[in-house]
Amino acid sequence: MNRSFIARNPSVLVFLALLGLFTLVVSVLSEGFGVGLISTSFVKTLGKTLCLCLIAVAMDLIWGYAGILSLGHFAFFGLGGYMVGMWLMYERTRQIVVNSLAEGVLPPTPEEIQAAIGNQIFGVVGSSEFPLIWFFADSLVLQLAFVVLVPGVLALVFGWLAFRSRVTGVYLSILTQAMTLGLSLYLFQNASGLRGNNGLSGLQNLPGVTAPQSAVSLWFFWASALALGLGYLLVAWVVSGKFGSVIRGIRDNEARVRFLGYSVESYKLAVFTLTACIAGIAGALYYPQAGIINPAEVAPIASIYLAVWVAIGGRGRLYGAVIGTAFVSLVSSWFTGGQAPDVNLGFYTIKWVDWWLILLGLSFVFVTLYAPRGMSGLIDLLVRKSRGEDT
C-alpha cells in the first residue's frame, strides 16, 4: 500500500527530500552545530515558519480538498500552544521556586511549593490560586496529550453542531470566525485561568535543560521539520485514497455525494477534527520557539491570514500551501521587520513597514481574481513546459 501510494504520488517524495535537504543545510549553517552563518534567531524564524507550513497543510486539506473555508483554525493552533505552554511555565516556575525555597531553614512542604508557584504564575492577574484547568499542568505526558485532545474535542463538538445543522459555505466561515473570536475574547479575561492578556511567557526556556538557546532552537527546528514531514505524508495519504475522492466530491457537489449514500457530515467532521489536531501539534511546536503566547494570537485575523497564505500558494495542492506560507510569512517578516530598504520617490518615501500590508492586500485581490491556482499554478506551467505539453 505504502509503496504504491508513494509511487502514485512522486511529488510527496520530492517534497520530503527537499525538506530533508533544507533541514540539513540549515543545521550545517547554524550557530548551534554548524559554521554559524545562520543566527539562532533566524533558525527560530525558520522553525516557526515550518510550523506555519504544517498548519497550512491542514488548512489546505480542509479548504483545498474538502471545500470548507474554516476561518478558525488558528484557535486550534493557539490551544495547542497553550497546552504545551502550561507545562513549560509550570515546570520552569516549579524549579525556580524549589531552588529559592531550598534556601530556607525548614525544607519546603508540598503545600508551600504549590502556593509559591501559584503566586509566581498568577500574581500578575491578582490571584494565587491554581484554576482547575491547571490540574494536570505538572504532567508533561498529559499536557502533550491535551495538545491533540483539546483542539480535537473542540473541533469535534463545534463541527458536530455546525455540520449537523447543515451550515455550509460562507455561513460556516463566519461561524468558525465567531468561534475563534469567542475563544480569544474568553482568553483575554483574567478569569479564564490562562493569565488573561499577559498570556504565557518564558516558553523558550526548557525546564531542566542547560543547553544554550542555539542548540535548543535547532532541536525545535528539527522537531518542526519532522512534524511537517509526517503531517505532509499523512495528509497526502489521506487525500490520495478513497477518502480523498469522497471529500473532493463533497467540495465539488455536496448534494450529489450525499445522494450516493455517503454520510457527508461524518466525512466533514473527520476532516475538521483531523486538521484541528494537526493545527494543535503545529501550535505546540510553534510557541516554544516564539517564547510567548497571548490571546491576540487566536484573534480572527490570524486565521484569515492562514487562508491568505494557502490561497497565494495555491490551494488544492499540498506543496502549494507550503510554498505560499513559507514565502508570504518570510517576506512579511522581512518587510515588517524594517530590513527592507525604503524607496525614495523624491516627493514621498515609501516605508515598507507602512506599505507592505497594502501591497499584500492588493496582491491577494490580484491572486484571487487572476491566479486562482496561486504560485503552484506557476509550477504547473513549468512542469508542462518541460514535458513539452501545450498549456
Binding site: 473555508l69 531553614v105 525548614l106 525544607p107 519546603p108 512542604t109 508540598p110 503545600e111 463545534f158 453542531l161 455546525a162 449537523r164 445543522s165 447543515r166 451550515v167 455550509t168 459555505g169 460562507v170 455561513y171 466561515s173 463566519i174 461561524l175 470566525q177 465567531a178 468561534m179 473570536l181 469567542g182 475563544l183 475574547l185 474568553y186 483575554f188 479575561q189 478569569a191 480572527p300 485575523i301 484569515i304 487562508a307 491568505v308 490561497a311 507602512d354 506599505w355 500590508l357 497594502i358 499584500l360 492586500g361 492588493l362 496582491s363 491577494f364 485581490v365 484571487t368 481574481l369 486562482p372
Partner: protein
C-alpha cells in the same frame, strides 16, 4: 464741599471718642469674651449659640471674619474688630456694628483670634442658617448643597426655620426634601422619624437610599450563651451557616479577646525555626520536616516541652463557639425606626429593580440599534445580493474618517454633521461601486473567493487609513445639543446620542423597506438577485442594478460610520470591531430579510446586555457567551429567525 468734609470728620471723631454709644454686636461679643479668648472646642459652644441667638444681622459677618481668622482683639480694651493688613504692616480695624473704620493699629497692640479647625467647623455650621436665608439664591443653593453633603443634627433646626421664608419654588422643594431626609436621621422624636421614613417609602432617589442605609447599618455583638444584648437586634447569627462561617465567628471571638488566637502556619514555622538545636527540633531532624504532618508533630512536642503556645484544635473552637451567642445589632437604637427603614428600603429597592430593568431594556435597545445600523448595509450586500463583503467594516471606518475630516474644515459641529452624513454616503458609495466594478462582479459565482478578495481590500484599506491618519484615535465630536442624557428618574437615563442613533436606525429601516418594496431599483434588485438571467431577459440591466445596490449598501455603511464615530473612537481598526457582530446579526436574523436583521440585532443586543447585567464587571465574557449562544441558536434555526421559504431560499 468743605462743610461736608467737616461733617464726615466730626462723625469719625465722634465714633472714636464715644465708644459708649449702642454697640449691640460688641456687647454680645464682650459678654462671651472669656469663652472666645479661651478658644477651646469644648467650651466654645455657648459662645457661638449666644452669637447666633442674638438675631443680629451683622453676626454673619462676625462669624465669617472669625472663621477666616480676620477677627482681632484690641489689647487696650479687649474689643473685637475685623482687621485688614495695611501695606505698611499696621492693621486697619473696622467696627462690626457700624462697619466704620476705627483706625490703624500696630500689630503689637492687637491680638489675633485663631480658632482651630474644630471651632471653624462649628462656626461654619452656625453660618449655615444665615446662608439659608441669604437674599442671594446661589448662596442659599450652595448652603443646601453643603448640608446635603455632610449633614449633622445641629443643622436641622436652622433648615426648618428657613423653609417658611423661602421664595424660590425649586429651592423650597429641595429644602422640604432635605428636611424629610434629615428628620429620618436626626429628629429627636421617634414618631416623626418613622413618619418621615414612611412618607418617602418607595422613593427612587439616591439620597433617600443613602439616608436609609446608615440607619440599617449593623455590627456584630457577642454575649455569653443565654444572654441577650440590650440593643436593637437585627438578627441572631449562628456560626456555621452560609453567611457566617465558623472561621469568621472564631476570628471575632479572638478579636474581642474572648478566645486565644489560632497558631498560624507562619507562627508555627517560626517557632520551629527558633527551636532548632543541633539540626533537630521537637525530636525530629530538620530535614524530615517537609510535610505538614511532620511539622505539626514537631510543634506538638515543643508544646509539651513548654516551648510554644498550644495549637487551637477544632474541639477548642467548638467549645469557644458554644459558649457565646452572636448577634447582628443595629447601630440605631430605636426598633421602630429600623423596622420602618427596612420596609421602606425594600419598597424602594423593588422599585429600583423595576427601573433598572427598564434602563437595561433601553440599553439593550440602544445596543441593538447600533448593531442594526452597522449591519443594515450588510443586509443589502450580503442579505439581498449574497455577496460577502469583508471590507464592510472598513466602509464604516471610511465614513467615520470622512466625518472627522469634515470637522477639520467646518468647526461648527451641527453644520459639520449635516455635511458629513451625505458626504460619507457619497464617499463610501463611490468606494462600493469601485469595489463592485473592479473585484466583486468577477466573482459572483464564487462566494468564498469574494470573501477572501474583499478581505484583501479590507487589510489594504485599514493600513491605508493607518498611514494617513496614524494609529491614535481621532475625535468625531457630536454637536452640543446631543450632549447629556435624558434622565427619566434617578435610575433610568439614556444619553441623547443613543436616542439619535436609535432614530437614525429606525429611519434607515424605513428607508430600506421603501427602496426595496416601493422603488424600481428595489424591484429590479430583487429580480436580479432571485434569477439574474430571467431578470436580464426582462430587460433589466443586471450589471447596473448590482452596482447600484452594492453602492447603496456601502453608502449606508458610511453613514453608520459617522453615527458610530460620534460615540466610539475613530481608529483604523474600528471596522474590525463591528464586522463579525454585523455578520452575526444578519445570519441570526435570517438572510435576505430586513425584518430578520432587525430581529437579529434585537436578539444579540438584548442577549449581550442581559449577560452583562448578570456579570457586570465583565463585558468580554458577555461577548463570549453571546457567540456560544449564536452557535447553539444556529442549531435550531439554521436559516435564522426569519427564514426565506421556497425558491428564494436556494443556496
Amino acid at each position: 464741599m468743605k462743610n461736608f468734609l467737616l461733617v464726615v470728620l466730626a462723625a469719625l471723631l465722634l465714633t472714636n471718642a464715644a465708644p459708649a454709644q449702642t454697640n449691640p454686636v460688641q456687647d454680645v461679643l464682650q459678654s462671651q469674651r472669656a469663652l472666645i479668648e479661651k478658644s477651646s472646642r469644648r467650651s466654645i459652644g455657648p459662645a457661638i449659640d449666644a452669637i447666633v441667638s442674638s438675631g443680629l444681622p451683622q453676626m454673619q459677618e462676625v462669624l465669617e471674619a472669625w472663621r477666616a481668622k480676620d477677627m482681632w482683639q484690641r489689647k487696650s480694651d479687649g474689643f473685637f474688630f475685623a482687621a485688614k493688613k495695611n501695606s505698611d504692616g499696621t492693621y486697619a480695624l473696622q467696627s462690626f456694628d457700624s462697619g466704620a473704620s476705627v483706625g490703624d493699629f500696630a500689630k503689637s497692640d492687637l491680638k489675633q483670634l485663631k480658632p482651630n479647625s474644630g471651632i471653624r467647623a462649628m462656626i461654619a455650621t452656625a453660618l449655615v442658617q444665615f446662608q439659608l436665608t441669604d437674599p442671594d439664591i446661589s448662596k442659599r443653593s450652595e448652603a443646601l448643597d453643603s448640608i446635603a453633603r455632610d449633614s449633622e443634627a445641629a443643622l436641622l433646626a436652622p433648615l426648618r426655620a428657613s423653609i417658611a421664608a423661602e421664595t424660590d419654588p425649586d429651592l423650597l422643594v429641595r429644602k422640604i426634601r432635605l428636611n424629610h431626609l434629615m428628620t429620618m436621621t436626626y429628629d429627636a422624636d421617634t414618631a416623626s422619624r418613622v413618619e418621615a421614613i414612611n412618607n418617602m417609602a418607595g422613593d427612587l432617589g439616591v439620597d433617600y437610599r443613602g439616608t436609609l442605609n446608615p440607619l440599617l447599618s449593623t455590627k456584630i455583638e457577642i454575649t455569653d450563651i443565654g444572654d441577650v444584648p440590650d440593643a436593637n437586634i437585627a438578627t441572631d447569627l449562628r456560626p456555621g451557616t452560609e453567611n457566617f462561617s465558623r472561621q469568621t465567628a472564631y476570628e471575632i471571638l479572638v478579636a474581642a479577646q474572648l478566645a486565644p488566637p489560632e497558631v498560624t502556619v507562619d507562627a508555627r514555622d517560626a517557632a520551629l525555626e527558633a527551636n532548632i538545636v543541633a539540626g533537630r527540633v521537637g525530636g525530629l531532624p530538620v530535614a524530615q520536616l517537609s510535610t505538614e504532618i511532620k511539622r505539626n508533630a514537631a510543634y506538638d512536642t515543643l508544646v509539651t516541652d513548654g516551648l510554644a503556645a498550644p495549637r487551637i484544635t477544632a474541639t477548642d473552637i467548638d467549645e469557644s463557639l458554644a459558649k457565646h451567642r452572636f448577634f447582628e445589632v443595629y447601630a440605631e437604637p430605636s426598633a421602630e425606626v429600623t423596622t420602618a427603614a427596612k420596609a421602606a428600603l425594600a419598597k424602594s429597592q423593588s422599585r429600583v429593580a423595576v427601573s433598572q430593568a427598564v434602563d437595561l431594556g433601553l440599553d439593550a435597545l440602544s445596543l441593538a440599534s447600533i448593531y442594526f445600523l452597522a449591519a443594515i448595509g450588510l443586509a443589502i450586500t450580503f442579505g439581498v445580493m449574497g455577496v460577502i463583503n469583508m471590507a464592510h467594516g472598513e466602509f464604516i471606518m471610511l465614513g467615520a474618517y470622512t466625518g472627522y475630516v469634515v470637522q477639520l474644515f467646518i468647526p461648527n459641529h451641527t453644520l459639520s454633521i449635516l455635511v458629513a452624513v451625505p458626504l460619507a454616503f457619497a464617499v463610501t458609495f463611490a468606494a462600493g461601486v469601485a469595489l463592485e466594478r473592479l473585484v466583486i462582479r468577477w466573482l459572483y459565482h464564487r462566494p468564498l473567493e469574494t470573501l477572501l478578495a474583499t478581505f484583501g481590500v479590507s487589510i489594504a484599506l485599514q493600513q491605508l487609513a493607518k498611514n494617513i491618519f496614524g494609529t491614535q484615535a481621532r475625535p468625531l465630536t457630536s454637536p452640543a445639543w446631543l450632549d447629556g442624557a435624558w434622565a427619566i428618574n434617578d435610575v433610568i437615563a439614556i444619553s441623547y446620542i443613543r436616542i439619535a442613533i436609535f432614530i437614525l436606525a429606525l429611519l434607515f429601516f424605513c428607508l430600506f423597506l421603501f427602496i426595496m418594496k416601493r422603488t424600481r431599483l428595489g424591484l429590479e434588485t430583487r429580480a436580479a438577485t432571485q434569477n439574474p438571467r430571467m431578470a436580464a431577459s426582462m430587460g433589466i440591466n443586471t450589471d447596473r442594478v448590482n452596482m447600484l445596490t452594492f453602492g447603496l449598501g456601502s453608502g449606508i455603511a458610511g453613514i453608520a460610520g459617522v453615527a458610530i464615530g460620534l460615540f466610539a473612537k475613530v481608529t483604523s481598526e474600528m471596522g474590525g470591531d463591528y464586522i463579525v457582530q454585523s455578520f452575526m446579526t444578519v445570519v441570526v436574523g435570517g438572510v435576505g430579510n430586513i425584518w430578520g436583521t432587525l430581529a437579529g440585532a434585537m436578539m444579540i443586543g438584548g442577549f449581550q446586555k442581559g449577560v452583562e447585567w448578570l456579570n457586570p464587571s465583565n463585558t468580554l465574557a458577555a461577548q463570549t457567551y453571546m457567540i456560544i449562544f449564536i452557535i447553539i441558536f444556529i442549531q435550531f434555526r439554521p436559516r435564522g429567525i426569519i427564514a426565506l421559504k421556497g425558491r428564494a431560499a436556494g443556496d
